[in-house]
Symmetry: C2
Subunit: 200 residues, 2 copies
């Protein structure tokens, strides 16, 4: 079925480049000819591998959401019974993703509305499950945190972790390991502060 002669199949090449281009210039900002050129074929040749441009975006977004959820569930299972450890593991996993797949993270919350209804619903459902996974764990670690506040806090921490694409490319950063550690500390600090109920 797939002639995986090299490390990446054609489909995978295309998806990777499409993700990069979509993240850089937006879904509507990039044409099929550019995507084709990025993998060495030209324009309509892409239609041998995908039903259309929309299909590429859909596969990317569903893939991201699915990966995040699956990974999160796996981590939750591994460290089950130790909420602190689960939360740390979730944070770590999300940071790895944000640092290693910046284009996908960017797409994830930028181009969702360009999908067909059915795909968008699917992606949103996966996202919702992922959020709920976090909310449950957060409330185990910080039982005083009400559910609406916990949910808002989770979204806020996602925003914090997903900020990596906005950080300047070059050496103005603490380096991958340092950045990861910094983000991890900040995420935990943010949750901690969220749970510290207003005095009174």
């Amino acid at each position: 079925m797939a002639t995986r002669t090299e490390s990446l199949t054609r489909r995978e090449q295309i998806l990777k480049e499409a993700a990069r281009l979509f993240a850089e210039r937006g879904f509507h900002g990039v044409g099929v000819d550019e995507i084709g050129a990025a993998v060495g074929i030209s324009g309509p040749g892409l239609y041998r591998h995908f039903a259309g441009k929309d299909a590429m975006l859909a596969e990317l977004l569903v893939g991201i959401s699915g990966q995040l959820l699956t990974g999160g569930k796996g981590r939750a299972a591994e460290a089950a019974g130790n909420p602190e450890a689960v939360l740390d593991s979730l944070v770590e996993g999300h940071i790895d993703f944000a640092l290693d797949d910046r284009p996908l993270i960017t797409l994830h919350d930028r181009e969702l509305d360009r999908l067909r209804d059915s795909d968008r619903k699917l992606v949103r459902q996966l996202q919702r499950q992922y959020v709920e996974l976090w909310v449950e764990v957060v409330r185990e670690v910080y039982p005083d945190l009400a559910e609406p506040a916990a949910r808002a806090a989770v979204h806020a921490v996602f925003g914090l972790l997903n900020s990596t694409p906005h950080m300047g490319r070059p050496g103005s950063l603490p380096g991958r390991a340092g950045t990861a550690a910094l983000l991890h500390r900040m995420a935990r600090g943010a949750f901690e502060a969220a749970a510290a109920s207003t005095p009174g």
Copy 2:
């Protein structure tokens, strides 16, 4: 010059609606006819007020960046000499903006690359100044934080504060005041944690 019969001039109406639509469906995702319809005129009538669709986006983005920077500078001046107070004021100001002008916040980091070179440079310069303003204050409050880490932390906190558009519309939130307080606590907690250097 402007017949400000109502509270909003035509230009302002258009900008407001354009911001909302751009945020909802992306710059390329919305047509001039839709923008026109949103203010009761149709299509090309917009060209009596703006040179083109690009000009609307440009004015919006430059306006946002300028407002943020101006507001930030003002707050820094007001509480000068008390870094803690300045930081709290900056956080508060940014939260007000994020909560009151969600569409603009969304545009702010989503559609920057659709601008002409000159406009994009201007916006980026304003953004950079705004970041540097924060970085300075943060380093006064947390002198142990190295500059690259401080800059990364500021970007991360922006991500945290700008997450408001991702939070579900309805009553699943703690309400405006509660959300503002929560975000404020989280932002400060995140900075605090960023400054807590890894135990050596």
